[in-house]
């Protein structure tokens, strides 16, 4: 699940807080952009597509492409439009929409 981080963070002294992604704990910067912090922590893929099961990570980082979708408290959200909060429990959205028909 983890791929090597390709992002270098400029130091800013933010507090790290614990979140979980797919059952694993991560320390992310509190108040940071959730998608950015997840990428920097090497978390990925964010999701698998419902059509072919292909892995996806953020593409646009501005709320337009919806490739950074994750599930938080039962709601599928755009990670790039959220802030890191302590204790967030994040999972990959359940795939399988394609099986409905």
């Amino acid at each position: 699940m983890k791929t090597a981080s390709q992002l270098r963070k400029l130091a800013d002294g933010s507090r790290l807080v614990r979140v979980t992604f797919a059952g694993t704990d991560f320390q992310l910067r509190e108040g940071g952009n959730l998608a950015a912090e997840m990428l920097a922590a090497g978390i990925g893929p964010f999701r698998y597509t419902p059509v072919s099961g292909a892995p996806r990570n953020p593409y646009c980082m501005m709320g337009a492409c919806f490739d950074c979708l994750v599930e938080i408290d039962g709601v599928i959200r755009q990670a790039c439009m959220m802030e890191v909060r302590e204790g967030l429990s994040i999972s990959r959205p359940a795939a399988g929409e394609a099986e409905h028909d």
């Binding site: 090597a4 952009n33 646009c60 980082m61």
Partner: protein
């Protein structure tokens, strides 16, 4: 139920400058923006970022500070983190903040929703690690993150800016893979040389970035074609043809960009007509010189009205605000016209270099007409070949393709496939993009939960009681 003289959607340069100009004219303004900080994408998180990262981001970024500070005005109510998902009766705007939905109604509405990266469907563009150049900018501005071991691919001034910023930060890209050719540059000089001279400020900036790149020794390939991104679970390399042979550069991120296009979702959702702009190679909304649309109370400003860049956006925002202030009787028509005069002169200067830039850095042909097996709809994973097949069996317009194979029906609602589908159908059917048309955009233009909708019921009841 909130009311205001003017509701502005989008706190980028156009929305911010319009909000202030309208407030100065005495109008009450509600400014809605999806981000938690004003600035839009170009000035994302500018108040914080300009302080800590000015050396990397460059002097132009600072212009955003003034616009953000100007929002401190008693007449401006800036609602942050507000996702607009529906507009009714042209000026009643439904939005959600932190899971709570609300309405705000303006006497007038200004749409300032900016631009999107032009879709760039190349093989492998859906792989994790393939992102837009704009995404790299956002990571840097908002999060102070630099993409390492990356290749920039495509064309246009933003590509140079991102590359230069990466060099300044000590994480230069592995290579710049540029799709424009020398012939494109020559054509631009021939056809739009005068514009280039009038718009020398912009071009000088571009040349400055290029010389910065040269001195940092970043490898540049121009006239690149047959671009494909390789990798199984993640980006591993980029392949392309340049200098007369196949090339391969290993990397873990590919940053794609070949221009930006107007984000038309909001305007389309209320039926504002759009037309095809051949030079920008995209649809732009129809409006008059004040930014007023066919709906008399609805105006559009900034890149969402057609690409002109951040400085032009701030100017068109002010021009629209003057028109709205005039319309609502806050200023006289003579005052409006007098104030607009110098703005129009500035706007002409800002736009002078645009035709040159558009001609010198045309969109990458391989992404306008992708190979059959390339995915063009990221959400529903529809390929270019699928669209061509639909055309062959009689499909004429983008809306019909939805019934054939669901392109544009995923969560992004066509934002990153709409223009490609139009271009593919137009080419396959021998029609113009104008006659081929675009997806019909329906609300909600952003996802809304049932709980949020239910929460609105009380507001609607209250409104009815007030009306009685």
């Amino acid at each position: 139920m909130t009311e205001a003289d003017l509701v502005v959607i989008g706190a980028g340069p156009a929305g911010m400058s319009a909000a202030r100009a309208a407030a100065d004219a005495g109008l009450s303004v509600v400014l809605l923006d999806e981000q938690r900080k004003a600035g839009g994408q170009i000035y994302r998180d500018v108040v914080r970022a300009a302080k800590v990262r000015a050396d990397i981001l460059g002097p132009d970024f600072h212009k955003g500070l003034e616009l953000v500070h100007a929002l401190r005005h008693a007449n401006i109510h800036h609602i942050t983190g507000a996702t607009v998902w529906q507009i009714e009766r042209n000026t009643r705007v439904a939005y959600t903040v932190e899971g709570a939905a609300s309405f705000v109604t303006g006497k007038c509405l200004l749409i300032a929703t900016g631009a999107l990266e032009r879709p760039i469907p190349v093989p492998g563009w859906t792989l994790p690690g393939a992102m837009t150049a704009g995404a790299a900018q956002i990571l840097l501005k908002q999060s102070g993150m630099l993409v390492e071991n990356a290749v920039l691919a495509g064309c246009g001034p933003l590509l140079y800016l991102v590359a230069a910023q990466m060099c300044r930060a000590g994480t230069p890209p592995q290579a710049l893979v540029e799709t424009q050719s020398t012939a494109n540059i020559l054509a631009a000089v021939l056809h739009h040389g005068m514009g280039a001279i009038q718009g020398w400020r912009q071009l000088a900036k571009g040349l400055g970035l290029l010389s910065e790149l040269r001195s940092s020794g970043v490898k540049r390939f121009t006239g690149a074609s047959a671009i494909a991104i390789e990798g199984s679970e993640h980006v591993e390399a980029i392949r392309f043809t340049a200098r007369g042979r196949r090339q391969r550069v290993e990397c873990s991120t590919v940053l794609l960009h070949h221009g930006v296009v107007a984000n038309t979702q909001t305007a389309r959702s209320i039926g504002v007509p759009h037309h095809w702009d051949e030079l920008q190679r995209a649809f732009v909304p129809e409006k008059n010189k004040w930014g007023r649309t066919v709906h008399p109370q609805v105006y559009i400003a900034g890149d969402g009205a057609g690409i002109g860049g951040a400085d032009a956006a701030a100017i068109t925002g002010r021009i629209a605000a003057l028109a709205i202030a005039g319309e609502l009787g806050a200023i006289t028509q003579a005052e409006r016209d007098a104030a607009a005069l110098p703005l129009r002169r500035d706007l002409r200067r800002e736009l002078a270099a645009r035709p040159f830039i558009d001609r010198a850095y045309p969109p990458y042909g391989g992404a306008l007409s992708p190979a059959d097996e390339t995915i063009i709809c990221r959400c529903e994973e529809v390929t270019a070949g699928d669209i061509r097949k639909y055309a062959k069996i009689g499909c004429r317009g983008p809306n019909q393709t939805k019934a054939f194979g669901r392109p544009g029906m995923g969560p992004c609602q066509g934002r990153y496939c709409g223009l490609t589908v139009t271009e593919l159908l137009a080419a396959a059917n021998g029609l113009s993009p104008q006659d081929t048309g675009y997806y019909r955009i329906r609300p909600p233009i952003k996802p809304v939960t049932l709980g949020e909708l239910a929460g609105l019921a009380k507001q609607i009841e209250d409104e009815k009681e007030t009306a009685q």
